[in-house]
């Protein structure tokens, strides 16, 4: 309900009202500025505390790990810690894997070649998946006919784990790069496709109405409204897809490939070199983490400070 408003002359009220009318937004802006400054300082000290809290657990794990190896503990699942290298061994192996000079064996200083080969495969598979899944997802999200044509088939194929594709892939494509890239592509394709479809379907009808009443012809609504509105969804699909791409890489590189992180830990397994396996695992984990950060950074460079939350 309207609150009673004592009006003087409407015309003067109109002119005078412009002053109080501008006041609330400016007040709002300054409180907003203060509000956004405060949490940032608060989160900085909070971040410091978070770091302090996060440190003891990994240190405890490293200590227990060392003790377990030395004491030849046997853990649940029959984990025989005597077969593990100590964290120090792994550290030394990791250094040697990257820079050489300690063990000086076939693996010394080869990390970068393996990492580069794996990164290329991830980029190819992921890039191909993005190039195909995003446009297809946009079409499926916009056209009910296309959606009804393809959705059942896609949901029949999707539940098949990509690891289950591996044996078939090796037979019909053959050992080598192309099999691995195909598996990475497959792993990245579905999360990207589904996220894009969802993002496009969930664009509020209201935004399309708003754009049309502001003069956007229906033919331009796709790139003026639908795509920008779906970007947050597409980006989260890309992040999931990129993570899965690194997961599947190890499977894809186990057979018939000599260079690559998955290949390296497969060879290490054949030679029962647990220190190298763990070093390889750590590198793959870090690579996946770095890839996600780089993707996020790249997205931020493109969208600037525009909100990415849906």
């Amino acid at each position: 309900m309207t609150t009673p408003v004592p009006t003087t002359s409407a015309r003067t009220a109109g002119d005078v009202a412009s002053a109080p009318a501008t006041a609330p937004p400016s007040g709002g802006a300054s409180t907003r500025g203060a509000a956004s400054r405060q949490p940032s300082t608060a989160s900085r000290s909070g971040k410091g505390r978070a770091w302090l809290l996060a440190i003891p657990v990994p240190i405890a794990i490293l200590i227990l790990w060392t003790l377990g190896v030395q004491g030849e503990w046997i853990l649940p699942f029959g984990i025989k810690m005597a077969f593990l290298p100590t964290p120090m061994d792994v550290g030394a192996r990791l250094w040697d894997f990257a820079f050489g000079g300690i063990m000086n064996d076939a693996f010394s200083g080869t990390l970068w070649a393996h990492l580069w080969a794996s990164t290329l495969r991830v980029l190819q598979g992921f890039g191909l998946a993005t190039a195909l899944a995003v446009p297809l997802g946009v079409v499926m999200g916009r056209s009910k006919t296309v959606f009804r044509m393809l959705e059942p088939t896609i949901n029949l194929i999707r539940p098949i784990p990509v690891t289950a594709w591996a044996p078939l892939t090796l037979l019909i494509i053959g050992f080598g790069d192309r099999s691995t890239v195909f598996l990475v592509f497959l792993a990245a394709f579905f999360p990207l496709l589904l996220n894009t479809i969802t993002g496009v379907q969930q664009v509020p009808e209201r935004l399309l109405e708003a754009s049309s009443m502001l003069g956007t012809p229906a033919s331009q609504a796709l790139y003026k409204v639908v795509l920008p509105a779906a970007i947050p969804s597409i980006v989260s699909g890309m992040r999931v897809a990129l993570g899965l791409a690194w997961v599947i890489l190890v499977v894809g590189e186990t057979v018939g490939i000599t260079t690559g992180l998955g290949a390296a830990i497969t060879q290490a397994q054949e030679q029962s070199r647990t220190d190298l396996i763990i070093a390889g695992m750590i590198v793959i984990g870090l690579a996946g983490f770095a890839a996600d950060r780089l993707l996020t950074l790249a997205v931020r460079l493109v969208v600037g400070r525009r909100p990415l939350a849906t």
Binding site: M1, T2, T3, P4, V5, P6, T7, T8, S9, A10, R11, A13, G14, A17, S18, A21, T22, A23, P24, P25, S26, G28, A29, R32, P204, R206, L207, E209, A210, S211, S212, M213, L214, G215, T216, K224, V225, P228, A229, I231, V303, R305, R306, P307
Partner: protein
């Protein structure tokens, strides 16, 4: 500041002749036989209970809904779809979340392919007229509801429409913000000289704002179609005091029209 439409042919008259809407599958038309002549620069409010079809009428004028009966004409032309001559302000704002306040407001002028300087000029004027210059670089989600609705109004004003269509624009705002926005809107209407068709369920709001109040009644919950019961001219002049006796007299009269004998169409 002159905000008259550039297109002189777009005089902002709205003529509804026996306008009706029958949604597919519904047993009855949602709206039937709405006839109304709105003059250039007039401020008309539609009030009525939920389900009487007042928003449907507005959406037909906007071109979001196709009329199944009769016709809507704006500035002498038949409405066949949405267009920038009819700016719409929604209850839920409908701002583009990925655009800043400035970019939201510049959207229409850019869409009209105006020269860069003109886009800037119109955008900053619209920003100024709603008092949002300070938050020009913010994104909608960083603003309060009232400020977001100001952006939505500025976005429409920047397009210099002949008609502004407002669908319960202040319905989601708190009472204080709401009364402030109502006064601003009266000022904006006065300055821009734009025709306004304003849908609300608040009779007080309608009496405070409008030159004429269209009272609608009926709807599927009453077993008939939404229709116009009466058009009430508001003769309170420019200075309206919602606490005054004559204001409340009109309010009571319209309240009676909204609630009495809903079953029989007039």
């Amino acid at each position: 500041m002159s905000m008259t439409p550039l297109d002189t042919a777009a005089d902002g008259t709205v003529v509804l002749t026996h306008l009706g809407k029958h949604f597919p599958g519904a047993p009855l038309p949602a709206v039937t036989d709405v006839s109304l002549n709105i003059g250039s620069g007039e401020f008309v409010c539609i009030v009525g209970a939920s389900g009487c079809g007042k928003s449907t009428v507005l959406r037909m004028v906007a071109g979001f809904e196709q009329a199944t009966d009769g016709a809507a004409q704006v500035s002498g032309r038949d409405v066949s779809g949405p267009g920038p001559d009819r700016g719409v302000v929604f209850q839920d704002y409908g701002l583009f979340p990925w655009l800043t306040v400035t970019e939201n407001i510049a959207y229409g002028p850019r869409q009209a392919r105006l020269a860069k300087a003109d886009v800037q000029d119109r955008t900053s004027r619209a920003l100024e007229s709603v008092g949002l210059t300070r938050v020009a670089r913010s994104f909608p989600h960083q603003l309060s509801g009232g400020m977001q609705q100001r952006v939505a109004i500025a976005r429409v004003l920047a397009n210099r429409p002949a008609v502004m269509l407002m669908d319960e624009p202040f319905g989601a705002l708190d009472a204080l913000t709401r009364s402030g926005m109502q006064q601003e809107l009266r000022r904006t209407h006065h300055e821009a000289g734009v025709t306004i068709l304003f849908v609300t369920h608040s009779i007080e709001e309608a009496v405070f704002l409008a030159d004429r109040v269209v009272v609608m009644a009926g709807g599927s919950s009453h077993g008939n179609s939404g229709h116009v019961r009466e058009v009430v001219p508001i003769t309170l002049g420019q200075d309206r005091d919602p606490a005054s006796g004559e204001f409340n007299e009109i309010k009571r009269y319209i309240n009676g029209l909204v609630h009495a004998g809903n079953a029989v169409p007039v």
